[in-house]
Symmetry: C2
Subunit: 235 residues, 2 copies
């Protein structure tokens, strides 16, 4: 069974891809450049796919970065060193308006065009600190939309197998499936190593994580709680 | 009240924009380049907006044209001289998978970023010859999605004021609002006039309609039935 898998290059989507492969899906990884301030995620997505003997289809949506106002796409400071309590209070500035709606829309276009009826994502609500478009209600609403938005066929299935897991549980599961988390990237505000010398291929391009943004903190906490050594390079 | 208006440059969206202005909305026209085979629609959208003392925000989604397999984005023949009966039998090859989901998703990103809670479209189901993502059920499903996909706030309103009107009714309504239909473009397969000499600005760029695709035929029928002279230049 064919499945389009949204692959951002983060820890969650890498694990979702591994689960889809474990479950026998013929996977079509899809990586979407939407105006992120840096290329680290896309580099990671390409490395992660390659490590699982796949290649990810990278496509470009400059419109999203241009229209959606967010600390991930515009020149707004990424918050640092927030407590988990602060993270869970309201929608953070790193929320990109309607991002997951657009990403799922493109996954739907891809899936319908190749004859798939499944879209897999790494959406996760527990550690997602206030992102409205990572919740189960969002996933179900998109599935309902897909069923009326497309040509008649089998029902759509939008799968978010990690949605109710903690980061530690995701890491434990991914390790059991052989995910190499050293290839993944979570940081919102990474530093390019030797930017002047940065090679043009993703294989050699290196990034260091800031260690202080929400994504870094949740990732670090996940490795600590899972007991798995954190392979992340911090600046 | 702010409203993002999806403006394709066709007859329907031009009319929707005029209605939004009549209804006192502070309009934000949005034109999306998604890999159409020609630029005629975007040229028309810019001219239409200008004729209503607005300017349309043009953004680019190359991902959609790359992922979605359709006669409007790929090298597939556009069907010609089909009867209305043939047009209404099934989903046509000019259907672009998930196009309206992606376009509404981007309108949602824009609207949430500027503090609007309304999105207006020219979707029309009567003459839409089998496009699943022009139906009322699609509009309502997207509205339900928007309400869970975004930061908490007022309910979203996705307005499709033309959805149940015939092309003739749309033209009659638009004429009463002063819409200049000579500026709009409907043809799926237009011919550039003097392509070698084509100027770079939309004001002077001229296109002729084929007169035989589904869009041309429905448009011609609409003008005939409304009794309004058809201002379209045919090849």
């Amino acid at each position: 069974m064919k499945a389009v898998v949204l692959l951002s290059g983060g820890l969650d989507s890498a694990t979702a891809l591994a689960i889809a492969k474990r479950d026998g899906r013929e996977v079509y990884p899809l990586t979407i450049i939407y105006g992120q301030r840096h290329h680290a995620e896309v580099d990671a997505a390409m490395r992660v796919a390659e490590s699982m003997d796949e290649s990810t289809h990278v496509v470009n949506v400059p419109a999203l970065g241009e229209l959606a106002h967010s600390a991930l796409t515009a020149d707004i400071d990424v918050p640092k060193d927030r407590s988990v309590h602060e993270m869970s209070a309201g929608v953070p500035v790193t929320y990109v308006p309607a991002r997951n709606t657009v990403l799922l829309g493109l996954a739907l276009a891809c899936a319908e065009s190749i004859g798939a009826r499944e879209i897999w994502t790494g959406f996760n609500v527990l550690d997602a600190s206030g992102y409205p478009d990572c919740r189960p209600a969002f996933v179900r609403a998109f599935e309902a939309l897909a069923n009326v938005a497309t040509a008649p066929g089998l029902p759509w299935f939008v799968n978010a197998p990690l949605i109710a897991l903690s980061k530690a549980e995701i890491i434990t599961l991914g390790c059991s499936l052989g995910v190499d988390y050293s290839l993944t990237h979570s940081c919102y505000d990474p530093v390019a190593v030797d930017p002047a010398l940065a090679p043009s291929t993703y294989r050699d391009r290196r990034w260091e994580a800031c260690g202080h943004c929400d994504a870094c903190q949740l990732r670090q906490k996940g490795f600590v709680e899972s007991g798995v050594p954190d392979p992340t390079r911090y600046a």
